[in-house]
Subunit: 360 residues, 4 copies
């Protein structure tokens, strides 16, 4: 029997990606779609302007969109809400005892909320116990769409050599801005060298994710302190954030050694067994002009981060190019992998408990 | 009476831009078009696949394309030749006494050849006297299309604070690869994180251009030694190279001080009077999302370099965004400005001298 | 002394194009900028999100945007208003005695309102006398951005051979949808085969414009009756509507004869003397792959319509390709040409009359 | 045991698509890759510039590319050869007894060669018996990438009402031109209203495909005679040819009746059972702005043709929009479906026969 999951912000671009990726999911079944008042009460097929390239499943189309208020019969909600409303709504669901797996930025840097990439910091899940919601409710978040690729690339390097500084320029896809997002007259044949709030997220989120879990009386994560300088640009591609990264190492290493730790990186076995886990979470490409956004963004069904051009840096120590799928690995797919980890660890049992309570 | 100029590589993308920019030029008149054997002997209108957005001028269309061999009746040739042939052909013209103003890379780093941006290093023209060609022939070059914007931006910073290191990621236009250049299936909705040879040029050319002229017994330019790390990418825009730059300074300065020296930079008065000189060679834009490639590439008819987002850098000292027009400022327009400087300094008199010698 | 003109809807995409094209206009000077309540009261530079590729002129930037209510000191207003508000606002200005030159669709098919292309039906201006506004106010309109190219191409054919039926498929630019208009996720690497209301306009507007003026007791235009079938699509180009047209003729003619009447078409001399009139309103291109949207859209500074590939049609009689600039010829530029014709005919004297009446 | 298939022109764009679509094919296994002399003798991974978005399979990468000369051990070859060489090479394979399933245009209109769309004219396979090649060799072709969508859409209409005339404008993807194909400077933000030879193919191929098979002493197909007028354009999309079609009917019918026959069309049951057959070969979409190239091109894994906007036509009788995937349904996928039909009909047994002959 599958777990019952809901989607908050179901009509938006991220919400639609959740729906697409959850079709035929072995563990999860969509039983609740919620969105703003504008959509609530209408069949999903009417309320949503479906932009995915597969047809909207008929069963989803006929579901009535609900308000974003907690209902009992859920094991989990995914949140693709806009940051302007996500904070309070997610809190309300958690307080109602429902686990929230969120893609929104609001709670990411909260000391009691895991900012989670299963291949990187699964032990940060321990932070959940610091959340004081009733009946097993809690919030887990995944990183910003541009942070996740950078952080996955930095993980093996930090483990092997230590990272002292990072300079990164991003070339981000239009889908990162949601729908309708960027106007076509701004996008076509143009580069916009600014994305509001993005550079700050790149400068901070990896420092929390890569930090060790301190397990004293209460679990704690003290963010690391090395500087990350980001310049974020929007380029006319549809899917895929490409990042040109330079790294200063704590322990000297040549670029071939860095290339090797990237290539040999593997997620823990318990992560690799999760349904949405790609065969490899990192792949190193050796063609001189790879990774390319459109060619390689689909690797591992959008869950594999591609790295290329690992070479010495004249100013810091090593530089390379990273590509990740911003709406799969960087949003809905990352959140689903987080939820799978929660399920595997037995942390999702809200509905069962509710049913049991009702039945007794 | 206008000077007679020739164009080598006249049928290529850069050659076509020379033709377009020289229409109605107050000092220069096209009297010679040369290209490869494939084109020689045919009317230009037939030999060239005209890709500029203005109609091909009828007078040019009917000119017969010549071989790339020197003829007497020229004051100057512009070279838009491919690097595979430019080296020898340009040498032959210079040896025939004809000044060569080249956009090709072949002679740029030759110690006796000026690598010239009139607003930055006009005194490097003194290197010409080291060239031992007969009858007044010499070679002058302009920088790579991506180097020129970076170097113009670094000039006032280096003068005011000293530059110790530079990290730059470029987002370069398709027109930088010439015609036919990049295949549309590689370009559309894609980023290619590699441009052959480009990162090396960015790492070396600014160091020559920014170096002081040493005037001992022979004029000399010792290239500077600070490190420049470049990551070059091709993005689906038509015109305009955008660069995300971070700089480490020799003398501490905050980003507002850097912004000010950029904004107040002016070319020497003798340069500002040249016909192709824009009102400002650098402009600082204060909108949060400027410069944008398509919006701002045409500033100063493509001769003004735009700078925006000057701000502190977490890893080096200051970072900002630079945009320059790759086929105008970065190719044909830059070369024409070089030629104007040569004319203004009285260095172009080959044909007059020839005519005089012929006794007429 | 220049005429004082106002712009209604000044902050929108068409309004911005009016501002750009009226810079340095020999006859007109912008003295009034009006827009919605959201913008009124603020300096234009703040109220408008300037999207033109030339810098916003400083004088315009500092003008305070007004409400869309008539003011005395104007000789003329241009309307770039959205159709949702244009009807009433334009009427109010006309009733206040101010000539309105509108790009909106609202009054185009009104029997007393000229739907004007100066090169095609200048005599339709006679309809103005049927408008019963006080003090010399009236409304003149220009056609839809896709109608204008089609109609200009049909004009010489209809004059020479008669048109019996037209089938047209359009490939229209993103700028035709205004700003923000089409979302980039809908536009990039996509074709949308639908533009709301557009096919109707193409099926009706040419029939009014090409109709003869009947000059009985009151001037009248009875729209023609031949069928026009349009299929309108949106394609990822920035500027320029390209149209694939097939025509059935009343009098038999081969395609070469049609090509000749297109090539030899000239506007009346009084029109050719207007400041915004291009050297040729129609040009026939003979390259096998012309006209191309990006290459040829700028012909005649956007006022020349380009035609190519005139050839026999297997189903109707002749077919060809038409390209016109949708925001210049098809919007602001067309309206300005209309206003120039009004000025040349002495129909603009509201302010002078007002001033005279005021006794100064 | 799978049939052994070869690919002629294996390194080109169509050849690569064959390789991709034949991965994990239930009936066919690639055992032979052939290309021009430039590639022959080298491992495929080196010889080909792989442009598909999935990784090149390792087994294919290591296969040595052969010359395009017949070898014994094959049941079938697919030809993705360029038309400049396809004619003779395909003939040579057929003469060597090897069935050729070709995507090239050379033999399409040959009276003894089936021009095949399995859902439309499977009985045309009978023409094979007119081919006089030894040992069971023959040639079967699939239509041009733009013809196939049009013909599939016309089939049910012609069956129900008769087609008297067709006018079609196509908006074709860049991938239709192969690789490198269209230069990005010609493609980006541009429309090219010309594709060499394409309009002729659209005007003739459907007339052969839709014609009845006449089964006298020898099977024969007399091409139909109604006129088809085509205007073909290249637009900046990656995959998918969209076509705006107008049709004159022999028997009067309103557009709703046409919509119904399109919607209810089904391939014969024997075709629907083929592995590459989509669930529906035609789908009618009722959204007002469908089909859209990028959104709907992947329907049925690229094998379903999408139709939308079925409505009355002011000039002919009915008009609508057709979208088909040009490199799947219109090239490699269509050819594979043809081969599956051949296999299902027991027409592929070259190798078995050869082996048997050798073994006895």
């Amino acid at each position: 029997m599958k777990l019952h999951v809901g989607i908050l912000g179901a009509t938006g671009a991220v919400g639609q990606k959740f729906i697409r990726l959850l079709q035929d999911h072995p563990w999860f079944e969509i039983s609740f779609l919620a969105a703003s008042n504008r959509s609530a009460g209408r069949p999903y097929g009417e309320a949503a302007n479906w932009i995915e390239s597969i047809p909207l499943p008929a069963k989803i189309a006929s579901m009535i969109v609900q308000d974003c208020t907690p209902v009992a019969d859920l094991d989990l909600v995914f949140s693709g809400l806009d940051a302007s409303v996500a904070g309070d709504v997610e809190m309300a669901f958690a307080q109602a005892g429902i686990p929230v797996v969120s893609n929104a930025k609001n709670h990411r840097m909260d000391p009691s909320v895991p900012l989670l990439i299963p291949e990187v910091n699964p032990n940060h899940l321990a932070l959940i116990e610091r959340q004081k919601f009733s009946e097993g409710g809690f919030i887990v978040t995944n990183p910003n769409c541009a942070s996740v690729g950078l952080t996955l690339a930095l993980k093996p390097i930090h483990d092997a050599f230590g990272v002292e500084a990072v300079s990164v320029t991003t070339l981000q896809a239009l889908s990162g801005a949601g729908y309708p997002g960027v106007a076509s007259l701004d996008a076509l044949a143009n580069v916009i060298p600014f994305i509001g709030g993005e550079e700050d997220k790149l400068a901070t989120e990896p420092l929390k994710i890569l930090a060790p879990l301190e397990t004293g009386s209460t679990p704690e994560v003290s963010t690391l302190q090395f500087p990350i300088s980001a310049q974020c640009t929007r380029v006319p591609v549809l899917q895929g954030h490409l990042e040109c990264v330079s790294v200063k190492l704590s322990s000297p290493a040549d670029s071939e050694a860095v290339r090797k730790v990237l290539e040999s990186f593997e997620a823990p076995a318990e992560i690799r067994r999760l349904p949405s886990s790609p065969e490899r979470c990192l792949q190193v490409l050796d063609e001189p002009d790879a990774p390319q956004t459109r060619r390689h963004v689909g690797a591992g069904d959008g869950m594999t981060v591609s790295i290329g051009r690992v070479r010495p840096c004249e100013v810091l120590d090593v530089k390379f190019v990273v590509l990740s799928h911003n709406t799969v690995r960087g949003a809905a797919g990352g959140a689903i992998l987080n939820a799978e980890l929660l399920a595997a660890k037995g942390l999702l049992h809200h509905r069962a408990a509710t049913l049991a309570a009702q039945g007794s």
